[in-house]
Symmetry: C2
Subunit: 642 residues, 2 copies
């Protein structure tokens, strides 16, 4: 899609009249007096939390924000592959992919060896390695991601809409045995500053603080951000421009000799570009106080860094100065030795870091992606409250790792290029290698949660070497047996809070006497120890708690529909209709037909014996088991469901 050629306008770019794209008044509903979950903050963390909770239908939720209305212009813009995988779970990956800029290549620039005061390209590399994810690395206005979350919330059974113009006045956690132990006072406000006298009181079972780096929720529970408060200052601007810099439509990392460094991120629509300009490297006499900084100063710095190239800026859509350090909260929740948590923090309320690796929005949504289903499981009685302790355990470690990564990446990025005068500088080739090395990290797919009640120690990992226990389920192409449709197996993982059990079959004929999947299905459907029988409440869909699916290595025409057992053919909905989408086969079609990507080979599945892969509701691999390890299967679910 191409847009912004007439200047930047926020909102859905499909509208010819930009005015129509932003006029979408929210339905004004009264603030509820009691809710299961109150979410404070309509940023990515809060909206993802709300979207996730809205999928259950029987959890009451309110989400509030100080803002007057939905965001129109966002600061964050980089969407990692892993985050798009999560969007897929909500069904809006396609829409975002259509609209966003796709980062396919990164260009590296360093001082020209012959003309050290001009820059020269040192190389281009693929931004995303092959088979890192089925999803691209995207750049899109954060506000458009918000719009999609809002649509998911609005289309849900609880028809959730934010309550804007609410400022948190107080938060108190009372008697833990009360039904709604947390009491929150909110003040109605307009334009952030003109306060009305209207105070609303909301009682909640849980409160989630997604209210940013200056989180009022965090203050209310007595936690704070600790770490480096400030380090390098960077200017950032979204501009519409013409330039002779040749890589303006590629992500470009530029080290100049004396003028500082710059990061160029092309934006959605084909014309807009984001530039990050290092401000500490501005020459003494060009440094200005932050409150006197102007876009013109940033543009002038950009022109010096890019020499011999130049930029002719036609419009500045947005600009700002970042002076953000790497900090992390003293705790992710308000739990004490005596009391389980009732208040959780997520997103920037927990951790701040520099924007250059594009991790902010992604880490924020991944926080609540981790917390959302756990809270839902507790609220709907599926799991014990103790499940919630894993949120802090899993996300805190990752938050710290992110900060360590960011510190190293930022330092490297800001360092002077290595040269005769600067022997301690960074070798651009080394920086490029580091960039590639950390591709998996910045794509968001490297997270590996440690063993816990919901992550096994992986003693059977060799049965599926490419589906690492603790890491996200790495999707691969398969063919759906019922309708012969080529699909991504991972796209079964909708955001409905169910665990997935994948039964990868061994090499016996599908559903023959020797077929381990057949025996497993018999266990799941008939045995008293079957976790599906044990944990699925009466009246609930058979696949709503544990969703069982099978994968075969044979061609899809070799699996007979008549042989599929009941455990793989649940009867669904009020009409009790058979679900035909539980059985898959390796994509054995010829390469010329788009096939030839065998999931057994791609993910190292043991062909002879097959295996069971248990996947958490947030798409992380919880356990790999032998196909006949029914005890192990039962034991896993005994630890996480009740």
């Amino acid at each position: 899609m191409q847009f912004h050629q007439n200047g930047f306008h926020p909102g859905d770019p499909r509208y010819s009249d930009p005015q129509d794209a932003v006029v979408a008044p929210p339905i004004k509903r009264p603030m509820p007096k009691e809710v299961d979950v109150l979410i404070v903050g309509c940023g990515p963390a809060g909206l993802n939390m709300a979207a996730q909770l809205s999928q259950f239908g029987n959890i009451s939720v309110a989400i509030v924000d100080q803002k007057d209305d939905r965001l129109l212009v966002g600061q964050a813009d980089g969407i990692a592959c892993r985050t798009i995988e999560m969007f897929q779970a909500y069904g809006f990956a396609d829409q975002i992919i259509q609209e966003g800029y796709q980062v396919n290549e990164a260009a590296f620039w360093k001082p020209d060896a012959d003309k050290p005061f001009e820059i020269a390209r040192s190389g281009k590399v693929a931004d995303v390695a092959d088979d890192l994810s089925e999803m691209p690395h995207l750049i899109i206005n954060q506000a458009r991601v918000h719009d999609e979350f809002l649509k998911v919330m609005q289309q849900s059974a609880i028809k959730l809409e934010p309550h804007y113009q609410r400022k948190l006045l107080s938060l108190e956690v009372g008697d833990a045995s009360a039904e709604y132990p947390v009491t929150v006072q909110l003040e109605r406000m307009v334009n952030f500053s003109q306060y009305s006298q209207e105070i609303e009181t909301v009682k909640a079972k849980y409160v989630i603080g997604c209210d940013g780096a200056r989180s009022a929720v965090r203050s209310a529970i007595g936690k704070e951000l600790v770490g480096d408060p400030l380090n390098q200052a960077w200017g950032v601007m979204d501009i519409l421009l013409n330039t002779d810099f040749p890589d303006i439509r590629l992500k470009s990392l530029i080290h100049s000799n004396n003028e500082g460094n710059m990061l160029i991120i092309p934006r959605e629509g084909g014309y807009m570009v984001r530039m990050y300009v290092e401000l500490d490297k501005l020459k003494e006499n060009e440094r200005v106080a932050r409150d006197q900084m102007t876009a013109e100063v940033l543009i002038a710095a950009g022109n010096r860094i890019l020499a011999p190239y130049s930029i002719d800026v036609k419009q500045v859509a947005w600009w700002s100065v970042y002076e953000i350090g790497q900090r992390i909260t003293t705790a992710f929740d308000d739990s004490t030795d005596d009391r389980a948590a009732r208040v959780f923090l997520a997103g920037d309320a927990c951790h701040t870091h520099s924007p250059k690796a594009g991790q902010g929005l992604n880490t924020s949504v991944m926080d609540t992606w981790n917390l959302g289903w756990k809270l839902a499981h507790v609220l709907t009685g599926r799991a014990d409250e103790s499940l919630l302790t894993t949120y802090s355990a899993e996300r805190r470690e990752y938050g710290q790792a992110l900060i360590d990564f960011d510190r190293k990446f930022s330092a490297m990025f800001s360092a002077k290029p290595k040269s005769a005068e600067n022997p301690d500088g960074v070798d651009p080739a080394e920086f490029q290698r580091y960039f590639q090395l950390f591709g998996e990290y910045t794509a968001g797919v490297s997270i590996q949660y440690r063993p816990s009640i919901m992550v096994s120690d992986g003693i059977h990992q060799e049965l599926a070497t490419g589906l690492t226990v603790g890491k996200r389920f790495h999707s691969a192409p398969v063919v759906r047996q019922g309708d012969a449709k080529p699909v991504q197996l991972g796209h079964c993982h909708t955001a409905n809070g169910a665990y997935r059990v994948y039964a990868f079959a061994g090499n016996a004929a599908p559903f023959s006497a020797d077929c381990g999947v057949k025996a497993l299905c018999h266990f799941l459907a008939e045995d008293a120890a079957s976790p599906v029988k044990k944990y699925t409440p009466a009246g609930a869909e058979m696949d709503s708690i544990i969703d069982v699916r099978a994968v075969f290595q044979q061609h899809h025409q070799e699996v007979n529909t008549a042989d599929i057992p009941a455990a793989l053919a649940p009867l669904k909905g009020t009409l009790g209709l058979r679900d035909y989408e539980k059985v898959f086969c390796a994509d054995n079609r010829p390469v010329s037909s788009g096939g030839g990507k065998d999931i057994y080979e791609m993910r190292g599945i043991n062909r002879e014996h097959g295996c069971i892969v248990i996947v958490r509701p947030d798409q992380y691999v919880a356990e790999v088991l032998p196909l006949n390890d029914y005890a192990g299967l039962s034991q896993f679910f005994a630890g996480v469901l009740k």
Copy 2:
């Protein structure tokens, strides 16, 4: 996507509450007194016409329908690959693909050789051949396609919305020299039958009759449908069911021995199925008068045909009886020897046929896809009125060919299977072969318009053997040079009314002295004979009339952005921003990275010399020329633009 498991509900399936999915009251605006184009009928032909015209911004349009509101439940459901290619031009292919059922395989069933009163599968074939189209063959409720057209119209610069509850009372074509020669009277109505006394008069430059088989517009201009008025009667039903028939999620063509024939089309959402049951084959005592037909009769017939399998119908979402013959209108417009056309017919107003090959909706949208841009070119002064004569010439021939195809296909489908007693019957294997043979036809990609002012005689066809003059531009993967993004070249063809000129380069180094593309760009930018200079009005975007793009066979990193000439780097929009999306390269990435599909090889482009391919605004190849045939290029455009 899975839905309908709680019964069928119309509207956007993403809403949890089906009520929300259908409540979308249209903006009520007064009927304009004068319009450039009045479209009668909000079916696929009419909505596509409206959507196409809405893209220009300076054409006034009204579209009216007798219905009270937008369609919620449609009859047509099969969307051919070619039609999805057209949806892509409007930007809504992704949305429709996400929601629809994808036809990947077809199953054929015939009487069991051993048990002749039971059916047995005779084979399965791929429904769509490799590289027939980059788009799938889809099944989706026609109403959801309408919704997308309505969205395109509403998002356009003219913010077009239908005027419902309007019945055509009269249509008169007056003095052709008047600005608005056609006068139409419309009566306001409610619920199709309760007429108000309110009569509206609209004057139009052109009227398009898209008002179906009983078209009032057609009657008003004295034309009629001729051909076989009726032939076989078929019952059709959309049902939610359980069954032991194994191919229920595949398109299945079933010939029983004595109980007649059946076509099964799985529907979107994973549960619903459409069944076409042949009624003339019902046994004497089961035949019922059409007005006494019930869904139960159809279900009983279905059960007999499917023996030994059976269906357990849980809900009938919709059913009907088809008794439609193959007929074609006596003329596609109201032109006479003395007067150019002012009224055009499209869709079912022009041609009717049986529904089984799934051609109805597709042919209808392709009618107005052919007419829309031509009318826009005439109305915006780009082309002479004589251009409009090609509509009837091109679509009439295709309409007739469709009817001939339909007659043969229907007869084959309805024939008894060949057997000892029925030596004249149809051999199921032959039917299956016919089905495969005509795959290209039913996918909508076989249409080849005859030579005319806008289709050359193809004397240089050997320069691009896979881009046949007169056929639709067959897309292939390429990598966009500016941002290294893998894209489909054909997706450049948005529905904006521009001609495309593709300059496929020969094997000289990109933009070197020997590079033919460089010379062509010089001609286009500098020469007085350049059609781009000649036909682009002052103030219009440089690529709005003729959109020039280049394709190279080298790797995309071998093309230097600095070398790209002005003809391939237009300055766009009110800010004059450079467009970086005009240059492409063959996808030379390794197969493991998703590449390896070389457009030069796939489309038979001459590697040594390259070529020019001119593509019409409706995506049909108009001309193939040598890369240096500037005279041929100028000559082509002299025939179609002014």
